[in-house]
Every structure is written in structure tokens, then in C-alpha cells.
């Protein structure tokens, strides 16, 4: 099984995502300028400041050539994981519902938080269990999840909310404490916390590994 991690100009956590993926499967970097996903089994859109966050976070990256390929891949059921800036890019691209807005505290915030797994029957969380608490760091300025009220109701009803910040751990004012969501088909996920920074006990927790582990097992079967 092979992960493809996209590198945009300004991506920062793509190497970290690559290292995390490699603990569970093969992985390679995909260049933003290519229209070809090189036959990977799952795509990771990483964190960072693609295009300097110019105009709006993720607004420019979503138009890069690689994103055309990612859109087609997602439309045909391929698994796509967007982390932090990647989540922002996927929302801008219309592959995920909602938008990410400036943190309620207005500042960049880097902190270890607890997130609760809302459902474990998704390709991204099948290696975890429902209700499991994962300790994962967040580090962002623009992570407040927002969607119109009727959209939020729909997300809940369709089981598209995969991760919520544990009580007292919401770092940015996200509606309904939402930390991670999927699209309606369930094959595209975005989350603000950085699971790739929670895969090695040496540097913190290993809780983030379940997301890569889940994807690695599912994308092979697909």
C-alpha cells in the first residue's frame, strides 16, 4: 500500500506526514505541479502555509494541477486525508463541507489536546474505537470549523463528524467542538489536529497512529 503526500510551495508538515505514513506503509511525495497521482492508494494533503496563506488559507493551493487529480481520485472513491492546511484546501476545493475561520483567540496556538473518536466505522478510524480519546497536538491560526446550521445538522445526522475536541479542549471555537469531518461519501476526511505529530512516543503521544493505520489497512483492500 502506498500513500502519496502532496507538497505545495509553502507546505511545512509534508515531511512529517511522510515519516508518519512510512511507519504503516510505503509513501512518496507528490509535487503540486504534476497532474498524476502516480498510482498511490491514498492521498494526504499536509499541514503548513501553502502559498503563504495568501488571500485566504488554502485558496490558491486548491487550483494547483495536482488538485485536479485529487478531485477525480476522490470522485471515484479514492481515500483523501487533509491535515490542518490540507483540511483548509479540501474545504476550498469543495471536497469537504464547511470552512475554517480564524481562531476565536485570534492567535496561533500550538497545544496538545484530547479529541474523541465519534465513530470507528470509517476508513479513517477503523483501527480506533468509538469514544476513544486521542492525545494529538494542534498548531494553527485558522482552525475554527464553521458551517451553516442546516449543514451542521446534516453532518451530524449522516455521521460525517468523525472527531470532536474533548470537553474543555476546544482550542479555537469550532462549532459543535468539531475537529474532523468527512464528505458525504465518507472517503475524504479533514481534521485540524496533526496526527503525524503523534506517532512516536519519543516526541509525544502515539495516538495519532490509528488514523494512518486505519487508512493503510483499508486502502489496500480497496
Amino acid at each position: 500500500m502506498r500513500f502519496g503526500v502532496i507538497r505545495f510551495p509553502g507546505s511545512c508538515d509534508e515531511t512529517d506526514a511522510l515519516l508518519a505514513c512510512r511507519r504503516y506503509a510505503d509513501a512518496e511525495i507528490l509535487w503540486h505541479g504534476d497532474r498524476d497521482l502516480d498510482g498511490v492508494d491514498a492521498v494526504v494533503v499536509p499541514g503548513g502555509f501553502s502559498y503563504g496563506d495568501y488571500l485566504r488559507v488554502g485558496a490558491i493551493a486548491r487550483f494547483s494541477p495536482i488538485m485536479e487529480a485529487v478531485t477525480e481520485f476522490a470522485a471515484s472513491g479514492g481515500h483523501v486525508l487533509g491535515i490542518c492546511n490540507g483540511f483548509q484546501v479540501l474545504c476550498e476545493a469543495g471536497l469537504l463541507p464547511g470552512a475554517l475561520l480564524p481562531n476565536a483567540g485570534r492567535r496561533f496556538l500550538c497545544r496538545q489536546v484530547d479529541v474523541e473518536v465519534a465513530r470507528a466505522d470509517s476508513p479513517f478510524t477503523r483501527a480506533a474505537s468509538a469514544g476513544q480519546v486521542l492525545s494529538i497536538p494542534v498548531k494553527h491560526t485558522t482552525g475554527r470549523y464553521h458551517a451553516p446550521a442546516h449543514v451542521l445538522e446534516g453532518l451530524d445526522a449522516h455521521g460525517q463528524i468523525l472527531l470532536r475536541y474533548a470537553p474543555g479542549h476546544n482550542p479555537n471555537g469550532s462549532e459543535d467542538d468539531i475537529a474532523g469531518v468527512t464528505n458525504e461519501a465518507g472517503n475524504v476526511m479533514g481534521l485540524m489536529p496533526h496526527p503525524e505529530h503523534a506517532v512516536d512516543a519519543l516526541t509525544g503521544s502515539e495516538d495519532g497512529g490509528v488514523i494512518f493505520e486505519s487508512l493503510a489497512s483499508v486502502a489496500v483492500a480497496a
Partner: protein, 75 residues
């Protein structure tokens, strides 16, 4: 033709930057200020002003969470 696009957070969306400015002004002696919203301004020179609407929809603004207003400035 010069155009100016003003982009601001939609009503009802929490705008912490706007709130911070609204709090800071009275502290500096300016009373009676309400409803501050902080946004962005994009200035551009275009040949065909009918395209600006599409530019806003596609790139300059995120219509899900932002309102925008286009001003055309005669050169």
C-alpha cells in the same frame, strides 16, 4: 477600469478581529462604536468589468462565509 473588491465576514459569523478592534477603540477614547467587522480589500485593473463577479465567486471571496462588494472606480 479599476475595481475595488471589499470582502468581509458574513453577518452572524464570529469575527474575533472585529471584536478586538471594537474593544480597543473605547479604550483610546472613541465612544459610540458598534458592529466592527474586519475584512480584506483587493484592488485590480481589469479590461472587462463583467468578469469581476465570477472572480469573486471563484477565488477572491469564499461565499460560504464571506460577503463582498464590488466598487468600480473611474480612472
Amino acid at each position: 477600469m479599476k475595481a475595488r473588491v471589499l470582502i468581509r465576514p458574513k453577518e452572524g459569523i464570529l469575527d474575533p478581529q472585529g471584536q478586538a478592534v471594537e474593544r480597543a477603540l473605547p479604550a483610546l477614547g472613541f465612544a459610540g462604536v458598534e458592529d466592527v467587522r474586519v475584512g480584506r480589500m483587493v484592488e485590480l485593473e481589469v479590461e472587462d468589468s463583467s468578469q469581476i463577479e465570477a472572480m469573486c465567486q471563484k477565488l477572491l471571496a469564499n461565499p460560504l462565509v464571506e460577503d463582498y462588494e464590488v466598487q468600480l472606480v473611474d480612472l
